[in-house]
């Protein structure tokens, strides 16, 4: 089955992974800008990273018939550094015309601090100013509930935002309802250990229905499985769900959401 992985950090993965993804049916991915595992030293370092995301990575993906899209920002972890964050935010517009950029992301919170919230709000201003879609990272483990509620407060408090153009990622059992009932899109992230499994993602689909809901692998440089979406497809098949339902979650929904950005062309 053809599918789209809406959140996958391919800069951290090998070309072999692209080949495996292609064999498994992945036709497009979207790659939000994120933390490299260490704090970058300057705005120039981000400029190089954004060039990698907008120039090099789409070519590497295209070799395997995969269309590569991306989102730009300074991630929540490095947002603790306000000065650097503002320099990066000021530089982002240079790349907003690139033909694979879908919007601003993954912005969000990490430890739910004041600085993180400040930079999150400044990213919202940037997105509004340039009419960009937004992809949001919610914190993990014990910080998730608090951080997700804080993020929703900031989004709901901003009347300029079109909620149907905002995707809130890494939702779990205790946050999904808040995201969906407020009109945002929700992404479930499948992890091999410690966080959401394909089985629990299938449970959430059964409980909340497939509207405005998608799934991703968030594969990166840490323990993660870039082919997690096929695991979810298998779990849904095993439970007897229809092809239409599965296709809606793994293909039609990301397509519908991304189609609100000009560069998205996937038929």
């Amino acid at each position: 089955m053809d599918y789209i992985d809406p959140h996958l950090h391919m800069v951290s993965r090998t070309t072999d992974d692209y080949e495996t993804l292609a064999r498994m049916g992945c036709v497009a991915i979207s790659e939000p800008a994120f933390w490299a595992g260490f704090d970058r030293g300057s705005v120039e370092s981000f400029r190089d990273y954004f060039r990698q995301l907008t120039e090099f990575e789409p070519k590497r993906a295209a070799q395997y018939g995969i269309t590569h899209y991306t989102w730009l920002c300074i991630n929540a972890k490095e947002a603790e550094n306000i000065t650097l964050s503002r320099e990066v935010i000021a530089m982002i517009p240079e790349f907003l015309g690139a033909k694979n950029v879908l919007g601003i992301g993954e912005i969000g919170l990490n430890k739910n601090t004041r600085n993180e919230a400040t930079i999150f709000l400044e990213h919202l201003d940037l997105a509004v100013q340039y009419n960009q879609q937004i992809l949001i990272h919610t914190p993990h483990l014990e910080d998730k509930y608090q951080g997700t509620r804080m993020i929703l407060d900031m989004l709901i408090g901003d009347s300029r935002l079109d909620r149907s153009r905002v995707l809130v990622d890494h939702v779990e059992e205790h946050t999904i309802e808040h995201v969906l009932e407020n009109g945002f899109w929700a992404g479930m992230t499948l992890y091999p250990v410690s966080k959401c499994t394909p089985q629990r993602a299938a449970d959430m689909i059964e409980r909340f229905g497939p509207e405005r809901l998608m799934a991703n692998s968030a594969g990166d440089w840490g323990p993660s499985k870039p082919t997690a979406i096929p695991d979810l497809i298998m779990e849904l098949k095993k439970r007897g769900h229809s092809k239409e339902l599965i296709r809606k979650i793994v293909f039609e929904n990301p397509k519908q959401f991304f189609s609100q950005s000009k560069p998205f062309v996937h038929g």
């Binding site: 509930y145 608090q146 509620r149 407060d153 300029r160 059964e206 229905g209 497939p210 439970r239 339902l245």
Partner: protein, 98 residues
């Protein structure tokens, strides 16, 4: 949810008997892991009985055994930091008219 019904075929909704048949061995393995973890803690030196993580595990296990629904969500909330609806005020986050 209305839209849920349109696409979720009612015939695929498994009975409780089917679910337990499909998943008994998986759940059995998980409960065994938990039991062995508790044994491992027990035979190690030192006392963690009153520690925060042990308390959280104990409360989590209580949720598994009680009569209430929504167990996954309740375990999640148990393991979560509190949300303060006044956080923007507490952190002095001010916003221009948006």
């Amino acid at each position: 949810m209305n839209t849920k019904q349109d696409i979720l075929d009612p015939i695929v909704e498994r009975t409780a008997h089917q679910v337990i048949a499909d998943e008994f061995l998986i759940a059995r393995a998980k409960i065994l892991e938990l039991a062995a973890t508790l044994d491992r803690i027990e035979r190690s030196s030192g006392d963690v009985e009153d520690s925060i993580p042990m308390n959280l595990l104990a409360q989590g296990m209580h949720i598994l055994c009680d009569e209430e629904v929504d167990k996954a969500k309740r375990v999640q909330l148990l393991m979560s930091r509190q949300y303060d609806p006044q956080w923007q005020h507490t952190m002095s986050i001010t916003r221009k008219g948006v």
